[in-house]
Homo-oligomer: 226 residues x 2
DNA sequence: GTAGCGCATATTGGATCCGATATACAATAT
DNA sequence: ATATTGTATATCGGATCCAATATGCGCTAC
């Protein structure tokens, strides 16, 4: 029988769906720091009961995206400037390590894939899809390392920073610089220059970090102490 | 009124209690790789319903300590040798960074505290409390850094490795070497030698890593590919 | 008029119940 | 005898229900 099957047991559970939707709403900035997450409201929104919602909230709490206080509910976690600095430091350290490990393992196919994303980034104007493509670009390159533990930790770091980076990019038009840097990183990877790619990656993150800091100093306020 | 209060709203929920108990059972090796975690059985054990158990299992899954398959239940996650190598690499990288940041922030009081744990380690023969003290020693020193995100990631890395390290220590009597290395690390910290402490820490982790590899190569089997 | 108390309501945490799925075993047909 | 199918049981995911706690408002006492 020539029937292609799908593993139906891998379908997402209700908790997974709610989790992904909430996670996305938080990292894109759709939900702001301190916004409360009411179990009832979310359950109605997804046409489910509160049980899957609570499991989604516990997942988000483990990831540090929301904070829960007993009998008071969950709110979106805010980052202090110090917190953001620390997580950027983490990225400098780990992302350099991972890209170094990834470069020698990149196949032509993977480089082509990353190149395609890079091109898509260059013409994308909408901030939301741009942010998604940006993550996809880095995930593709870093993924070649096969270092799943490092990648999970980095993914969490990005999740915690993403909404601030996106908000800042939206205002400062840093897309152009980002795009040029992406091309440079990709070129180094294609050339098999692991150290170069690592340096460029660190510089790339540094740029985002500095822009964010400037932006925050500028508006002065914001950034709940979480 | 001179009455010191405690924030009663911070009492652990049932989920937290179950989570901590299961986490401990897993990281100490009390539960073996692949052991199933039956919701009913655990609920009865803690005299609660399955709801808090499920939330605990969700947390454990987020930490990578158990794996859940829909409608089939959760089992203790096993590490392949490659997985273990990767997590050790993560520790080399991050723990060196954190200890470097921690040294200049260590107070005499904190050093005294670490010293006390170090002494306790020297006379402790039981493997389980020795493992707990070992974690406490490193947590005390690293904690001085105040780098909460790094510390959380390192804690998770330790959680994933702990049972293997404990099992290996149990057989190879690596306690003595560990104790000497602890004293050296502590001395470097007390001397304010951040780079020295970092080097010694890396060497310390390296020792554990090599012992574990040797041990695994020796017994050959074990380590489900989980 | 104001500080403090008590009740009403909203919201969360946990228990119980029900439907869905997996697994093991028995029955049956070839 | 073996392979297939049906069924019984165990276990899980989710819904509903109840208890515990927080919050807001009105009332009372001074």
């Amino acid at each position: 029988m020539a029937l292609t099957g799908v593993d139906v047991s891998q379908r997402a559970s209700a908790s997974d769906i709610v989790f992904e939707a909430l996670r996305r709403a938080i990292i894109t900035g759709e939900m702001k720091d301190g916004d409360p997450l009411r179990q009832d409201a979310i359950a109605r929104l997804f046409n489910t009961s509160r049980i899957p919602v609570r499991e989604a909230l516990t997942m988000l709490e483990q990831q540090g995206l929301v904070q829960t206080r007993r009998y008071k509910g969950a709110v979106v976690t805010g980052l202090s400037v110090d917190d953001a600095d620390e997580i950027f430091d983490f990225r400098y350290l780990v992302e350099a390590h991972v890209i170094r490990a990834a470069v020698p393992r990149m196949t032509p196919g993977l480089l082509a894939e990353a190149g395609a994303i890079c091109e898509a980034l260059a013409v994308e104007r909408d901030p939301q899809p741009w942010g998604d493509l940006n993550r996809a670009f880095h995930a593709t390159l870093l993924g070649a390392s096969g270092l799943s533990f490092h990648l999970a930790a980095l993914g969490n770091a990005m999740d915690r920073l993403d909404r601030y980076v996106r908000a800042q990019l939206l205002l400062t038009e840093g897309h152009e610089r980002s795009n040029t840097e992406h091309r440079a990183i990709l070129a180094a990877c294609a050339a098999g220059d692991a150290d170069g790619a690592a340096d460029l990656t660190v510089a790339h993150i540094h740029g985002a970090h500095q822009s964010l800091r400037a932006h925050l100093d500028g508006i002065k306020a914001g950034f709940g102490t979480g």
